[in-house]
Every structure is written in structure tokens, then in C-alpha cells.
Amino acid sequence: MDTLVAQLQRQFRDYTISLYHQGFLDDQFTELKKLQDECSPDFVAEVVSLFFEDCEKLIGNMARALDQTGNVDFSLVGSSVHQLKGSSSSVGAKRVKGLCVTFKECCDSQSFEGCVRCLQQVDIEYKSLKAKLQDLFNLEQQIVQAGGRIPQVDI
């Protein structure tokens, strides 16, 4: 039993580190983890799920805005990108945040192609992050079920 827990824990640690190393997450995520305590045991999961909902909504908005061939409202797209940037930096989704910066520049320069490309990338990026975090939470649950403690991962 203990070996399973230890293995899971190691797996969890490695996976977390790999997420940081690959640039999916940054320190802010760590901060979020620190905020999670007894009063709010699912704080991180809650925030993250909120973030993904937000992402979905915003990406939908932007896709619609960019679909208006001819007269694309770049300011609308821009504000969405800004929101996305804010929320991604709040959860520490580093890659998404980085993409948002590029996206914002494209918006500012009113480059339609750039926006579309960025949008696609953001879409891909947040989905992959979602999958990864899902895996991470699954691991956590497994550890909890196995009776272990979720290890503190210092980056």
C-alpha cells in the first residue's frame, strides 16, 4: 500500500515538475496551492475550472468576433484577450498568458491572420492545459484515495 502511495506521490511530483518545466504553469499556480486550506479544500480545482469555463466563453466570443469577415471588431477581441490574459495570469497558466500577449499585439496591429492564428493556438493550448491539469487532479484523487498525503512540490 505504502509503495503504491509513494509511487503515486513520486509520479505526482514528477508530473507537476514537468508541467512547470514545460512552461504550462508558473509560480502563481504555486501561490494558488498555498491558498488552499481546510476551509476551501477544492480551491485550486474550483479556480481552475472557473478559468477553463472562462476560457471557453472568451474563445467562443473571440471566434464569433473574428468570424465577421469584413468588419472585425478588434477592440472587442482585444478586451476578451485582455480578460483572458488576466485570468490566465491569475491561475498561473503561463503558456496561455504568453500567447495572450502575442494575441494582444496582433489585435493592436489589427492583423486578422495573426489573430486567427493566435486564437487557434490559444484554443489548443488551453485544451492541452486542461487535459494536463485533469491528469494532475486525477493523480491527486488517486493519492487521496490510496490514503496518502498530497506532497508539497517545490519548484
Binding site: 494558488l32 491558498l35 479556480v47 472557473l50 472562462d54 478586451s79 485570468s87 491561475v91
Partner: protein, 1124 residues
């Protein structure tokens, strides 16, 4: 590094260098132009001379050409003059129209006349002649003159064309050069081609010039030579003609005499019977009259005897007629008797010189016979062709005259003459001796040789005189008329010597040629040199550009690398700091501290290098923000006080009261300079003395006698080194350090120029190192870095920074005494209203201290002044100074009344005196608080003084506003509470606990996170998702202590929401006097830029925190509102 200095304004440098080179090239060209001009002028002058000469020659030759000259001179007459001239024609003749065109090469005039009926043709012709004459000056002049004129004009024009060309070339080149300069960087390639092309062009030009020069020289030579030859020929002609005429005249005279003799014979021999002449008489007469016939060698008279009369004649004379014998000329004796002939001409009389021919029949000689026949037929003197004379063996001619018996009329026929002939008179001319004699009489007989020819028979010319010597190339032939139309004679003259080498013709053109070649050589050299210089210049510019690029690259590399190093170093330092906070034993702590210290040193070094690189690559820009200079200096002094205290150095700051409270500039950089200077001072000052930072306006320093600033007065008043200083240790006079400043400029009212001096009593800078201390990485000597550490880059950076502040930095130093650095800087001025937030904390306290009276007791005057300055800063307005406790108690007794505060420097502290002093104060109802000012005291000493109860408080120097306020508050007992709050542990949790906080953000995630963070610190968080909701929530009255507002939100953004909230609060404040509503609103933003920050403040926000929250930042921004 020195290249970097030039880098700062490469353009100006470049242009300067280019200008210099351009000027040089220009100078060379101007020189070239001048030389060419001179050449042209000299040549044209030469031509002018030649033309003049030719004119003179042609003047002599013919009057018509003289007329031409006249008209040519008149060519320049103005049209009016011609008009005047023509008016004469108008008067005399009916000229209806006159057209006159002045053209480039002369005046063309045409006259047209109205022909009237009465006018005869002659008049018309005359007028035409005049008209033609007018125009002939250009058109129909004598060929030679015309050619010369045209040549002259062409030459003249040609010269000007040449000059024009040269000027054009110069101009063109100049324009080229300009172009080169202006478009240097853009089209270097193209420009090089241009250069090459231009070089080629000038070379071709030079070649052309040389060719022109050479051809001109040759032309000149040819012309002069021609002239010389012409003159020579003319001389020959003149001489020859002269000789021919003389010879002819002499001959004719001689012939006349022979003629006269013939008449004499006819008269006296035949006219008289018996004859009056016999051989003796004839011989004598002819001998005596021989002087009249200098050319004859002898005369003889022969009688005409027919064959029938021969015998009678022979008998009569007693000898027979003899035949002329040519076989043996030397022996004339053996004359044979003449053969039978129709007619004989025996000589009957002969001059003594030719007496041997008496009785010889002249008809028997072929030549003589022909001569006699011709003579009697013509009745004139006739000549034989030259033949060998008898006896004399010379070539000679015989002149024969017929003697007639009657006086024949002029138009007598040939038969009549033959009939009338009775005898013949002959005279022999010895031609060589004749000519010889004649030539003897004439001048310059040596120079020419004369030949005389008989050219009667053109096929066989007989030479009568002369030799074939002399120059055969030129010859003049003059015809001779000896009075015999049948015979033709010519005189050929030639010079005896070959013509001399015409030096006159060779030398000047030769010189011209040499000059041409020399000039050509010089110009060629110059052109080559210019080409090389230009090429070198191009190379140089290229190298310069490359060097500059390399320098920029270096600086950029340095900047990048420094930055890259700094980032991980911060991590290292942070970790070390954390490590030190953990549970370490003493040894480990020591290691960690050492590592941390080294890391900090490294970071500061990297920062310095980064600064240097930034400055060098021109990327360092100064900020322009308002800051409080005094506050900044307080910071610096507190920062450095630790180090100074360690070494036992007294540190003091003084700012003149004239310096504005808030100035606009770059506080960071200003602080950097001061820190660097003070840091150096601390580093180089050993265990004694002081470091004194003072700030004045440059205006005060410029007019030191008008200043009211005590410190400045005392410092300027002192000698080179004086002991009237802060600590009593001697220091150099600060004024020396700014003596060399060039610009103590006058600034407009919104600019302030400050002079900062940092005085220390350190080791001083060695004299030989003083010149290079501002050079980067250069220290006084190599041992300095070992002894004192550091890289030596600080002063260089400071200098650059000062220069960026439009100021200057200088120093004065005396080894062993100390150094004083001073620098100036230009700052903006601003009203205190927009003051710096940091000061507001103290505002209240300062009000508390207003009106307090204080006495400073200090043995050092300057130090007392500094103390006074600090007291005045905190609001203590009336401060008196006494030099010691004793003097305070005695002389200043009156001042002691109602004193609130007495500050005693530790140097002036004396327990006994103090007790005495205090006893004098007993009477006072409210004893003043006693504060002891100490520089450095051991804790033991401190506690002793404190425990003695004599003083209320001990303040450690350097004096700072905050320290002073704290101390005063404590002693005066007013600020007790405040201090309590100040000493609250700095913990965000404590700060925020129980506070009602509103978080406004449209993004759910952000809201959630902010909520979580703030909750963690114990705050009670309410979240809303839009600006509108926030305004509704914040409408007073409400319970929120603070609000965190997102800036970018749909519908209503953070700025707008804040504005509305502020409006609402304003409204409420108006209604309700009791409570001032002002909810602190902090912006939450992801991009922290200056512009956003300013905008936040403008909209009524109180600050901003970056998203996501960081504890430190959150604390610092929140603390301002909740820490009261």
C-alpha cells in the same frame, strides 16, 4: 572606451572630419586653377606680343594693312561712334538706312543708299568703298592680318574656355564633394565609383592641358623661328640688293668713261688730220685717267681695216696685223700674222697695262669679233661673255664701243651704223678683282658671300666671281644690268655661315614646355594624392563605422550579459537570504553571510558595468520626476551611516535653505552619484575626520559675498586647508573643486542648478593620478584595488551621469589632507503642492514642533549650523548657537529664557560644566529638554549617560529628519502614541485583519484568487463583477475600508468607476461635514507601466497593485492606508 565618447555624437565628428578634408581638396583645386590661369595669361600675353610684332611688320610692308590695323583698332569703337561717323555720310550722301551689328568677332556694317537719278556712278562707288572698308575690318582684310586676328581671337577665346573648363571642373568637384558628404552612408559604393570617375576625369583633363601646353609651346617656337628666318632672309635680300646696285652703278660709271674715251678717240684721232693721238698719247692719257675706270684692267683702241686697206695699213704702221692666239696665253709675243679676212680690227692704241695687244686683230678672237659686230650695230657698249683674259688669267669681260666717224642720230639704222664705223674701243674688266674691290668697300663683307653669274645662256651659266662656300640653303638672286641688253647677269648672295641655332626661338617655348611638364607632374602628383587621400578617407570612414558598430555591439553585449547575470544572481541572493533565515549554526551563518555579501558586491559591480554599458551605448535616459532632495540625502546618509560609524567617521548633510524643497530630476541617478562619492570618501577615510555633503544653488556659490548661508561663508572664507571644518580635522577648501567649472549658467526660472560637494578628510588622491581618476577601471594606483577594493568604474559612471544632468564634476585633493568632490546638475523646479508622498507622513509632526525654541551647543561652528539646518527642517524655527556650555550659561543667558530644547554635541559635553550650566537654569519653571548629539558612542558610554539622568535623549548622528522627529516626539512627549503604531509588527495579516474589502473584477478567476489571497490575511472580502456594481456598493455610507479595482472591465472600466465613486464621495462630503469620505481605491492591473500609474492617480485612485498579488507589494501599498 574613448571611442565611445565620440560615439555620442558621431555625426558631428564625421562632418567635421569631412569638412577638413574637403577644405584641403578645395584649396588644392583653387591653387591648380590659379596656376592654370597664370599659364593661360602668360601664353595669351606671348601671343599678343607676337601679334603686335606682326602688326608692326605688316605696317612696314604696306599701307593697306596699316589701314586694316586702323580698322581693327576701331573694332572696339562703340556703336555711337560709328553712328557719328556715319552721320557724315548721311550729310554728304543720301544714305537711307544703316545697319550695324556688333557681333562676337567684330562689327558688320551695311549701308544702303537711295540712288538718285542725278547721282553719278563714281560717287556711288566711293560710298560702296567706304562701306566695304567698314566691313573689311572683319571680312576682306589682307589675308595675313586676318589670319593673325582670327588666331589671336581664337587663342584668346580658347584660353577663356580653358579657364572656364577649369572653373567648371572645380565647381563640379566641389558639388561632388558636397554630395559625397551628404550621402556618405547611404551610397558609399556609388560614391566610390564617383570618386574614381572624377579622378579619371581630372586625369584626362590634365592630359588635355599638357597636350595643349605642349602644342602651344611648339606653336610658339615655330612662330618665333619663322620670324627669325624671315628677318634673316630680309637681311640677305637687302645686302644682296645693295651689292648688286653698287656693282651695277660702278660698272655703269666705268662704262660711261669708256664711252667718253671712245668719243675722245673719235674726236681727236679721226676728227683731226693729222691725228692728235698716237700710241704714246693714248697710253699716257689712259694711264692717267685710269682712276675714272677703276674696274677696267685696260683699254685699247682698234681700227676698222678692210682687207683692201690691210697692206696700206700695215705699211703705214710698220707692222702686220696679228692673229689672236688662244693656245698659249702666257706668251703673247708669238702672234702669228692674221689670216686673210674681209675685215680686220687691229689694235692701234692700248693702255700701258695691255700694250702687248697692239697690232693684234681683234676680229680674230671669236668673242671679240661677235662683240665688235654687235657694238657697231647697236651703237652702245656691249659685253662679251666672261672668258679667260689674256695674260692675267682671270675671268673677265670685254666692253666694246664702236667709234663712228660721224655723229650718228639716235634712230640711225644698223647699216648706217656699220657704215659709219671707223674703229672700236675696248675695255677689259677683270671681274673677280672688280667685285673684290667693290665688296671691300661695303660693310659686313664677312657675313655674306657673293657670286656673280652670266646667265645670258640659261643652259650654261658662267660664273664670273665667287666661290661655292657658305650656306647653300638660302640664296638671294639680284639681277644686274650692265647696260648691255643682250647680256644678262645675276648676283647670287648667301650667308657665309649656317644660320645660328635660334636660341631666342627655342628658349621661351622651351621654358614654357618645361613649366607645362612640371605643372603636369605636380598636378598629376596632386591628383594621385587626392585620390589616395580620398581612398584612405573612405577606408577610414569604413573602419570608423565598423569600430563604432563594434563599440555599440560591445556595449550591447555587455548590457545583455550583465542583465542576464543579474537575473540569476538575484535568485542566488534571495536563496542565500532565505538560507540565513533558517536555523543555521554560527559557522554556517558566517559562510552564508559571506556568500551573500560577495553576491551583493557582484550585483553592485554588475549594476555598475550595466550602467557604464548603458551610458556608452547611449541608452541611459534620465527620468524626470519630482523628488525631495533633502529626503533623498537623509536616505543616503542613513544608508551609509553604518559604514561611516564603523570607521569612526562623522557624516553630515547640509542643504542650503535656498534649494527648493522639491526638484524635478532623476532621483535614482542623483542618489547613485552621491552614494558613489560618499562611498569612495568612506572607503578612503581612515578612522578620523568627517564626510560632509552639502548642497547649494550655483547662484549662491557664484556670488559668495552676497550669500547669507553661514556654511558657505565659513567654507569659502577659510584658507587652502583649514581646521574650521565639521570634525575639526583639516580639509581642503572646497571652492577649488568647482573653480574649473565652465558653466555656472544662468537658467530660466523653472530650472535650478545645484552644486553638491562631498568633502572628506581621507588619504587624498596622489597628484600624478589626479588626471585619470575619471577614466573607467582606473584607480589611483594598482595597489588601490588591493587595499580598498572596488573596480574604479564608479567615478567614471558618476561623471557620465553628471554630464547627462548637464553638469560638471570636479575635485580638489591634497594627499594626506583629503579630497573634495563637487558636481553640478540642472534640475527642474516644482511647487511643493504636488509633493512627494513620503513627506506627508511627517507633515503632522512638523506642525507640532512649530514655534519651539532651541539652543545648540557645539564647539564646531559648521556642525552647529548643520544641526540648526536639521532642526529647521523639522519645524523648530528659532535656533540659537553657543560654542560651549560655559559660554551658553554666561554670555547667552538672555537667550536661555523659555527654551524648549537644548542640543549638546558630545564633543562639547562636559559633565561638570553641564552641572554648572544646569544649576543656572534652576529658576526656570519649565526646564528645557536636553538632547545629546553623538557621533559614535560605545553602548556602555551611552547607557552611562542615559542612566545619569542628565539628558533626556541621545541622538546618534548623522542627523536625519525621521530620526530627529522620533527623538523630538519622544522627548517632548507628544508623539508617544504615534510611535506605538509605528512599531507595529509589519505583518500583512495584522494589517488587513477584519477589514472590509471590496474586490471588483469582471473575471471570475481573478475575483476568486483575489478573494482567496485577501481572505488569507484575514480580510472580509466582498466581490462584485462590474464597475457599476462597485459604484453602487461604494456609494456612501458604506462599511468598506478599501477597494481593489480591476482597470479593464466591460461597460464601465476601473477609471470610470473610480471617478464616479469620487464624485459620490464629494457629494456626500458636502452634505455631511462630520466625516470625510475617501475610500482608498487600488487599481489591480497586469501591466504595470508608468503611464497607467499616472492615469490611476489622475482618476482619483490611491495606488495600484499588480495582478497577481505579491505579498510585499500588497503590503506596501495597503500599509499606507491602514497603518495610521
Amino acid at each position: 572606451m574613448s571611442i565611445a565618447c565620440e560615439l555620442s555624437n558621431p555625426n558631428s565628428k564625421k562632418t567635421k572630419a569631412e569638412k577638413r578634408i574637403t577644405t584641403k581638396i578645395l584649396l588644392i583645386r583653387v591653387l591648380c586653377g590659379l596656376v592654370v590661369l597664370w599659364l593661360c595669361l602668360s601664353l595669351s600675353l606671348g601671343f599678343l606680343c607676337i601679334c603686335k610684332k606682326k602688326e608692326a611688320a605688316s605696317d612696314d610692308e604696306s599701307s593697306s594693312s596699316a589701314k586694316g590695323m586702323l580698322f581693327r583698332n576701331q573694332k572696339n569703337v562703340s556703336r555711337s561712334e560709328i553712328d557719328a561717323m556715319l552721320s557724315l555720310f548721311f550729310d554728304s550722301n543720301q544714305v537711307t538706312s544703316f545697319e550695324c551689328r556688333k557681333e562676337s568677332d567684330g562689327i558688320t556694317c551695311s549701308l544702303s543708299t537711295r540712288s538718285e537719278k542725278e547721282e553719278d556712278e563714281e560717287e556711288e562707288a566711293k560710298r560702296h568703298f567706304v562701306a566695304e572698308l567698314m566691313s573689311s575690318s572683319d571680312n576682306e582684310e589682307e589675308g595675313g592680318v586676318l589670319r593673325e586676328v582670327v588666331l589671336f581671337y581664337v587663342m584668346n577665346k580658347w584660353h577663356w574656355w580653358l579657364v572656364l573648363c577649369v572653373l567648371l571642373v572645380g565647381g563640379g568637384r566641389m558639388i561632388f564633394a558636397r554630395k559625397e558628404v551628404s550621402s556618405f552612408v547611404q551610397d558609399k559604393q556609388q560614391q566610390q565609383q564617383q570618386c574614381k570617375r572624377a579622378g579619371k576625369w581630372s586625369k584626362n583633363m590634365l592630359l588635355l592641358c599638357i597636350i595643349a601646353g605642349v602644342s602651344l609651346s611648339v606653336l610658339w617656337f615655330w612662330d618665333t623661328n619663322e620670324e627669325i628666318l624671315f628677318q634673316r632672309k630680309e637681311t640677305l635680300t637687302n645686302m644682296c640688293e645693295e651689292r648688286a646696285r653698287v656693282l651695277q652703278d660702278q660698272f655703269n660709271v666705268s662704262m660711261n668713261h669708256v664711252h667718253a674715251l671712245s668719243i675722245l678717240v673719235s674726236t681727236f684721232h679721226h676728227g683731226k688730220t693729222p691725228s692728235a693721238i698716237d700710241q704714246k698719247t693714248f697710253g699716257e692719257y689712259t694711264e692717267r685717267t685710269n682712276f675714272e675706270r677703276p674696274l677696267t684692267s685696260g683699254v685699247a683702241y682698234a681700227l676698222k681695216v678692210t682687207h683692201s686697206e690691210r697692206e696700206k695699213f700695215e705699211k703705214e704702221h710698220g707692222w702686220s696685223i696679228k692673229k689672236m692666239d688662244f693656245e698659249d696665253q702666257t706668251l703673247v709675243q708669238g702672234f702669228d700674222p692674221a689670216p686673210v679676212q674681209d675685215e680686220y680690227a687691229p689694235v692701234i692704241f692700248a693702255q700701258e697695262t695691255v700694250s702687248h695687244i697692239v697690232s693684234v686683230d681683234m676680229m680674230s678672237g671669236k668673242e671679240d669679233r661677235e662683240n665688235i659686230l654687235r657694238a657697231r650695230a647697236l651703237g652702245k657698249g656691249v659685253l662679251t661673255s666672261p672668258f679667260q683674259l689674256l695674260k692675267s688669267n682671270h675671268l673677265g669681260v670685254i666692253l666694246t664701243f664702236a667709234v663712228y666717224n660721224t655723229n650718228l642720230p639716235h634712230d640711225a639704222t644698223e647699216e648706217e651704223r656699220i657704215q659709219a664705223t671707223i674703229g672700236y674701243l675696248g675695255a677689259s674688266y677683270d671681274m673677280p678683282s672688280l667685285v673684290e674691290k667693290l665688296l671691300q668697300q661695303l660693310a659686313s663683307k664677312q657675313t655674306i658671300s657673293v657670286n656673280v653669274y652670266d646667265t645670258t645662256n640659261a643652259s650654261s651659266v658662267i660664273k664670273m666671281y665667287g666661290s661655292e662656300v657658305g650656306d647653300m640653303s638660302e640664296e638671294h638672286i639680284s639681277s644686274l644690268d650692265f647696260g648691255d641688253p643682250f647680256r644678262k647677269h645675276e648676283m647670287h648672295c648667301r650667308f657665309t655661315q649656317k644660320p645660328p641655332i635660334p636660341w631666342l626661338a627655342i628658349l621661351p617655348p622651351g621654358f614654357a614646355l618645361v613649366i607645362t611638364f612640371l605643372l603636369g607632374h605636380i598636378f598629376n602628383g596632386a591628383i594621385n594624392r587626392i585620390a589616395t587621400v580620398e581612398e584612405d578617407y573612405q577606408k577610414m570612414m569604413e573602419l570608423k563605422a565598423r569600430a563604432e558598430a563594434a563599440d555599440v555591439a560591445k556595449s550591447q553585449f555587455l548590457a545583455t550579459v550583465s542583465h542576464e547575470i543579474r537575473t540569476p544572481m538575484v535568485g542566488v541572493l534571495g536563496m542565500l537570504k532565505l538560507l540565513m533565515d533558517t536555523d543555521l549554526d554560527a559557522k554556517q551563518l558566517d559562510f552564508a553571510e559571506t556568500a551573500h555579501g560577495s553576491g551583493k558586491d557582484l550585483i553592485s559591480l554588475i549594476n555598475e558595468v550595466l550602467d557604464q554599458a548603458k551610458i556608452e551605448s547611449g541608452r541611459l535616459e534620465l527620468e524626470n520626476v519630482p523628488f525631495d532632495l533633502r529626503f533623498l540625502l537623509d536616505n543616503v546618509s542613513s544608508l551609509l551611516s553604518g559604514k561611516a560609524a564603523e570607521k569612526g567617521i562623522e557624516l553630515a548633510v547640509y542643504v542650503s535653505s535656498n534649494v527648493p524643497a522639491v526638484i524635478v530630476g532623476d532621483p535614482g541617478r542623483f542618489r547613485q552619484i552621491i552614494t558613489n562619492l560618499v562611498g569612495n570618501s568612506i572607503k578612503f577615510t581612515q578612522e578620523k575626520g568627517h564626510i560632509f555633503i552639502s548642497v547649494h544653488l550655483t547662484n549662491e556659490v557664484r556670488e559668495p559675498f552676497e550669500t547669507e548661508d553661514e556654511i558657505l561663508k565659513q567654507r569659502l572664507g577659510s584658507d587652502e586647508t583649514s581646521c574650521n571644518t565639521l570634525s575639526g580635522y583639516p580639509a581642503v577648501n572646497a571652492s577649488g573643486s568647482w573653480r574649473n567649472f565652465k558653466t555656472f549658467q544662468d537658467h530660466s526660472c523653472d530650472k535650478t542648478e545645484l552644486l553638491v560637494t562631498v568633502e572628506d578628510t581621507g588619504v587624498g588622491i596622489p597628484v600624478d593620478a589626479q588626471s585619470r581618476i575619471f577614466t573607467p577601471f582606473m584607480q589611483a594606483d594598482s595597489s588601490t584595488s588591493r587595499t580598498y577594493g572596488g573596480t574604479g568604474i564608479g567615478l567614471s559612471i558618476s561623471k557620465r551621469l553628471v554630464e547627462l544632468m548637464q553638469g560638471e564634476i570636479g575635485f580638489v585633493s591634497k594627499p594626506g589632507v583629503g579630497t573634495t568632490f563637487s558636481f553640478t546638475g540642472v534640475f527642474g523646479e516644482r511647487e511643493r503642492d504636488s509633493s512627494v508622498a513620503a513627506l506627508e507622513l511627517f507633515d503632522q509632526s512638523i506642525q507640532e514642533f512649530q514655534g519651539l525654541k532651541a539652543l545648540v551647543i557645539d564647539s564646531r561652528n559648521i556642525r552647529a549650523e548643520v544641526t540648526r539646518y536639521h532642526l529647521q527642517r523639522v519645524g523648530v524655527s528659532s535656533v540659537d548657537i553657543a560654542s560651549s556650555l560655559a559660554t551658553a550659561s554666561t554670555s547667552c543667558a538672555s537667550k536661555l529664557v523659555n527654551l524648549d530644547l537644548i542640543l549638546i554635541d558630545k564633543d562639547a559635553w562636559n559633565k561638570e560644566e553641564y552641572v554648572a550650566f544646569n544649576s543656572g537654569q534652576e529658576t526656570s519653571t519649565r526646564p528645557p529638554k536636553i538632547v545629546l548629539l553623538a557621533t559614535f558612542t560605545t553602548p556602555a558610554e551611552l547607557s552611562e549617560i542615559k542612566s545619569s539622568g542628565l539628558v533626556d535623549e541621545v541622538v546618534m548622528k548623522p542627523l536625519r529628519m525621521s530620526v530627529l522627529i522620533c527623538c523630538l516626539q519622544e522627548t517632548m512627549g507628544s508623539g508617544g502614541k504615534k510611535r506605538q503604531t509605528n512599531r507595529k509588527p509589519k505583518n500583512l495579516g495584522n494589517l488587513l485583519r477584519g477589514k472590509q474589502i471590496l474586490v471588483v473584477d469582471d473575471t471570475m478567476v481573478n475575483r476568486r484568487v483575489a478573494d482567496a489571497v485577501l481572505r488569507k490575511y484575514g480580510a472580509l472580502v466582498t466581490c462584485v463583477d462590474s464597475g457599476k456594481a462597485a459604484v453602487a456598493m461604494l456609494k456612501p455610507p458604506h462599511d468598506f475600508h478599501a477597494c481593489f479595482m480591476d482597470l479593464q472591465m466591460p461597460e464601465m472600466d476601473g477609471f470610470e468607476a473610480t471617478r464616479r465613486v469620487r464624485d459620490l464621495e464629494e457629494e456626500m462630503n458636502k452634505k455631511e461635514e462630520s466625516r470625510k469620505w475617501h475610500t482608498p481605491i487600488l487599481a489591480m492591473t497586469a501591466d504595470v507601466i508608468q503611464a497607467t500609474n499616472e492615469k490611476c492617480i489622475k482618476c482619483g485612485m490611491d495606488g495600484f497593485v499588480s495582478k497577481p498579488f505579491e505579498e510585499e507589494e500588497l503590503y506596501s501599498s495597503v500599509a499606507r492606508f491602514f497603518d495610521k
